[in-house]
Amino acid sequence: MNDTKILDSIKKIVTPYTQRKEGLDNFNEDTDFIKDLEVNSANLVDVILDVEDEFNIEIDNESMSGMLTVGNAKNIIEQKLGKT
């Protein structure tokens, strides 16, 4: 799976939890789930669970700890899919 496809998937997953919709216009690896999209901190758990379901991976707490930006989430997904 290439970078663009992963980013598109993340965008699709995070959209329903996004409270600041204009943050989606400029969606890129630097996009911060909490600061830019105003995802409620409890909904970040839902984003992580949806990512697990979508890619059929398991995200441990240590990986989850850094999942605050789109780029970070992408890196973790790639790592878990066995692509480094």
């Binding site: 909904n43 839902d46 992580i48 669970l49 707490n61 700890s65 999942m67």
Partner: protein
């Protein structure tokens, strides 16, 4: 070190589905999950523990200038004392124990670190100005000399006559509410 967190219980009903598979496991330790699921009102205790974790996260992030992170199970909650409206707790973060106080009503939960000298919950607009009014009355100083500012990390504080006095406070928004916890000991 000061931290607080407000939960609008009318909003969590729409915003979160805590019974979805994996949710509790990502947020709570096994012991916390047992406490929650064996309690008379699991939903209230979920948000009580969540707000305690968030309040202490904000406090330690501020105290140790930590880079932001997301790891709710690193904050382990214990309830020490509880009556219908008030819960006293302790949150274990790494090797530290931090006391918390939570005030519960039917539509909201407000948790703050126990060193909080006063707290305020505000609805609607003008919440920052409500806070400054309260501080002005509490400390008996003129309102005009107080302002709200933020440091480089985005951590807010109140200034008195420019930058001479920095009163740390913690701010939390959720749904209809803005909540503040203020410590006047300046540390």
């Amino acid at each position: 070190m000061i931290g607080n967190d407000i939960i609008d219980l009318n909003l969590t009903k729409f915003q979160s589905n805590w019974s979805r598979r994996g949710f509790l496991q990502k947020v709570f330790t096994e012991k916390e999950q047992r406490f929650i699921l064996n309690s008379a009102n699991p939903e209230v205790n979920i948000w009580l523990f969540w707000s305690m974790k968030e309040a202490v996260y904000k406090a330690v992030q501020r105290k140790y200038k930590l880079v932001r992170f997301y790891n709710p199970t690193r904050f382990i909650c214990h309830q020490i004392d509880f009556n219908s409206k008030r819960s006293m707790g302790v949150v274990n973060f790494d090797n530290e124990l931090i006391k918390t106080i939570s005030v519960l009503t039917s539509d909201k939960i407000h948790s703050f670190t126990a060193n909080t000298e006063f707290s305020l919950i505000s609805e609607g607009n003008n919440s920052n100005s409500n806070l400054l009014h309260k501080i002005s009355n509490q400390l008996n100083i003129t309102l005009e000399s107080l302002n709200i500012s933020k440091d480089k990390e985005g951590i807010p504080f109140i200034t008195y006559h420019g930058d001479n006095l920095r009163i740390p406070f913690s701010l939390s928004h959720h749904g209809a509410y803005s909540a503040y916890a203020v410590s006047l000991n300046m540390s």
